[in-house]
């Protein structure tokens, strides 16, 4: 039988626990019993792949999905997706979703009284290129209130979903913005104990990708699996 290549596991504190009581929704949803250690078999080291045919090439520009321009500050979010050894993960699906500039999601469960934007849906996807690079054009999402505790506000964030090469490399996380004053108070951002790991979720302002008179650039690299893995977040 052919030997399979398994995936290195992240350091324990570099990923969030399931139960994080200050994040109220985790209390009734976190498993109470210990997880059972699963050695990686062929079932875990394989996973779905997505080809160009499954991708809408326009889906990487969230500002061009409607007839008009969305309101808000135009930004470019780009970066590289790498494995635990820093090698690029090519042709890997990335999906994003986010609130609009006013802090409102286009979703029936979002009842925040901020306005919807008819020119902004807030979801997109793309494939990484041969060097593992990706690039989205979007608008900077707004902060929004939520019911977790009194006067709770989420820092501005973009949800990221990545597949990587295998079931074992599946990651759903959130990207934040540098200097956001809400970060120290956010129970979701702070659920990861290791500060260095947590800070990997904050994008960097980036002159290189900033386009004059057009859009600010933010850089967000993502590592799937291994000791430097990007932490998960819901």
């Amino acid at each position: 039988m052919a030997k399979i290549v398994t995936y290195r596991r992240p350091n324990p504190d570099s990923q969030p626990p399931y139960l994080h009581p200050t994040y109220i929704s985790s209390i009734k949803r976190a498993p109470s019993k210990s997880l059972i250690y699963l050695p990686h078999t062929l079932s875990e080291v394989t996973g779905p792949s997505f080809t160009e045919a499954a991708i809408d090439v326009k889906a990487c520009d969230l500002t061009r999905q409607h007839s008009g321009n969305p309101l808000g500050e135009r930004i470019i979010v780009s970066g590289r997706v790498m494995d635990e050894d820093g090698r690029p993960l090519q042709h890997s699906l990335i999906e994003v979703w986010q609130a609009n500039a006013a802090g409102r999601y286009l979703h029936k469960r979002d009842q925040h009284n901020a306005p919807l934007d008819p020119n902004f849906t807030g979801s997109g996807h793309t494939l990484t290129d041969a060097e593992g690079r990706y690039r989205f054009v979007t608008i900077r999402p707004g902060s929004y209130p939520w019911g977790n505790h009194h006067n709770a506000w989420r820092p501005a964030h973009i949800h990221f979903s990545l597949f990587g090469p295998a079931f074992a490399s599946r990651l759903v996380t959130q990207m934040y913005f540098p200097g956001d004053p809400l970060l120290p108070f956010d129970p979701i951002f702070n659920c990861t104990a290791d500060e260095n790991a947590r800070n990997r979720l904050i994008s960097l302002f980036d002159w290189e990708t900033t386009i004059p008179s057009q859009a600010l650039g933010f850089k967000f690299d993502i590592i799937l699996s291994g000791r430097e893995a990007t932490p998960m977040e819901p």
Partner: protein, 170 residues
């Protein structure tokens, strides 16, 4: 991107509909969960380059599905029962589907598996044998009496009947 029917034209194998609920620690439905599944085809071959077995691939079957729960916390998908795939010792695992569960409140995904009730191979499956016998039931999809091809399998996030979840790294 909902994908709840994995069976394409010409896909071989025993067609099954698997349905169930995602429930929280109070037994309340979880209406915002997403179930993702990954499985081999009826020959026990994954559509992935890491699978080097000399078995046929079927272009009509990718093996991947994504199913959101509805307002009652219910999900349902149509697939085929996968064939056996190798374990780490050159033996075969019992037919199974690997599952990720995502939801609000889950800071990380939960990883679990779906096995099939009518499989003698379950008794020797090395992953099922990692689980205490009384909890194995939570991993097995059961036939719904009187309905052919329909199986029930639930995700209980927390509590005495909690589903078995695995540590898969990420």
């Amino acid at each position: 991107m909902k994908h709840d029917d994995l069976v394409g034209a010409g896909t071989s194998g025993e067609r099954v509909v698997i349905e169930g609920h995602v429930l929280d620690g109070d037994g309340e439905p979880v209406p915002d969960a997403i179930i993702e599944i990954w499985q081999a085809n009826s020959y026990g071959k994954y559509a992935h380059p890491e699978d080097q077995q000399d078995k046929p691939l079927e272009p009509s079957f990718s093996g991947y599905g994504r199913i959101p729960t509805d307002d009652e916390g219910q999900f349902r998908f149509t697939t085929i029962k996968p064939g056996p795939v190798p374990d780490l010792d050159g033996k075969f695992q019992a037919p199974h589907i690997v599952v990720s569960v995502f939801a609000r409140g889950l800071l990380r995904r939960l990883v679990t598996r779906i096995y099939f009730s009518d499989e003698p191979a379950n008794a020797t499956d090395f992953v099922l044998n990692l689980v205490e016998a009384s909890r194995c039931e939570t991993l097995i999809a059961k036939k719904i009496a009187g309905v052919s091809g329909k199986l029930e399998w639930n995700v209980i996030l927390q509590g005495p009947n909690e589903t078995v979840f695995f540590d898969c790294g990420l």
